[in-house]
Symmetry: C2
Subunit: 199 residues, 2 copies
């Protein structure tokens, strides 16, 4: 398959493109500051240029979308808007603009995260964004069939525990290898409209 990986330089994006590459797929990497093609998916004009350069693909993998973390009383309107622009609307717009370019039974796999269902301190904007994308995925699946769409919703990465472990007390971490496998399940499998929780 020809697979576009957005956010390919992040931890999840890198693990996923490496696995999919080992599986023999052709990977086009996309990133804000690195990759085969530079694109900030929260910028509509950059998105349309992206598709005209990449052309048809069999699958789109997104591991993109930063969100601000802060105590609730410090999260302001700009923080929620930023979380929406980057992680929600950026990914939704990737799907919206990509529909004409993705193969008939091809797939979109978006990224969300454990905070959609399991709250942490300082995670209200992240939770909002993750919940938005997960419900969008379930809704979009029934309309875009036979094209498919899923979300991968990981816990804190085992490899990120030194940096972020304290924010996720008692959360079972997940190895990046399992996160990559969740993307593989979405891309090479047949499911749609699902939130895949790697473990």
């Amino acid at each position: 398959m020809k697979i576009m990986v957005v956010g390919a330089s992040g931890k999840a994006g890198k693990a996923t493109r490496e696995l999919l590459s080992r599986r023999g797929h052709t990977i086009v990497t996309v990133g804000r500051n690195s990759g085969d093609i530079r694109c900030d998916i929260s910028q509509p004009e950059q998105l349309s240029q992206l598709w005209s350069r990449v052309g048809r693909v069999d699958a789109v993998v997104s591991a993109a979308g930063d969100v601000p973390y802060a105590p609730l009383e410090k999260l302001g309107p700009d923080d929620y808007r930023s979380a929406f622009d980057q992680k929600v609307h950026g990914q939704i717009d990737l799907v919206r603009t990509g529909l004409p370019y993705v193969a008939e039974r091809g797939s979109f796999t978006l990224i969300t995260g454990v905070t959609a269902r399991d709250p942490i301190l300082q995670g209200a904007a992240a939770a909002m964004a993750n919940g938005a994308v997960e419900s969008f995925v379930r809704a979009a699946a029934v309309e875009i069939a036979p094209q498919r769409i899923n979300a991968v919703s990981p816990s804190v990465f085992t490899e990120s525990l030194p940096d972020y472990g304290d924010y996720f007390p008692g959360f079972a971490p997940v190895d990046l290898a399992e996160v990559a496998r969740a993307y593989q399940k979405s891309v090479e499998g047949a499911r749609t409209g699902e939130v895949i929780i790697p473990a």
Copy 2:
């Protein structure tokens, strides 16, 4: 209790304020175009005026937030932004700005909807907004305690079946009386961080 009801002229808002009024509470109604106080909660400057006029309350009930419904291929960036502004950010900002005005064990009860978990055609923007608010509620609850926050997430109203029933094929509708009771459970009860599904 002194209870502020936002979106008080809509079906759910009207049923809820009537029930809470019969329960003996003092109700302050807020709406974009009607009510004791006019306020569009998606407009920050109107929100700060709202709180300075209403002052301290024991509970905030929100039944506000329009979202556009359209086939996925017709939903554009402005539609998702509108859904975010009205139903997600408006309600989040109501909580954010209201924290200093709500009693120590007082509550916020926001509105979401069945499409967060159960998709319908033309409902992708609604699903996105509902999922966002439900995950926000779970996340905010752990930070604002002992203040409380819940969401009421109704199916299509029985009273709306003539207008909207065809959009919800096979969905069990819910009477507005049960929707009002779900708000009552949140306001008068002790739970927090929950998505209450009236049935």
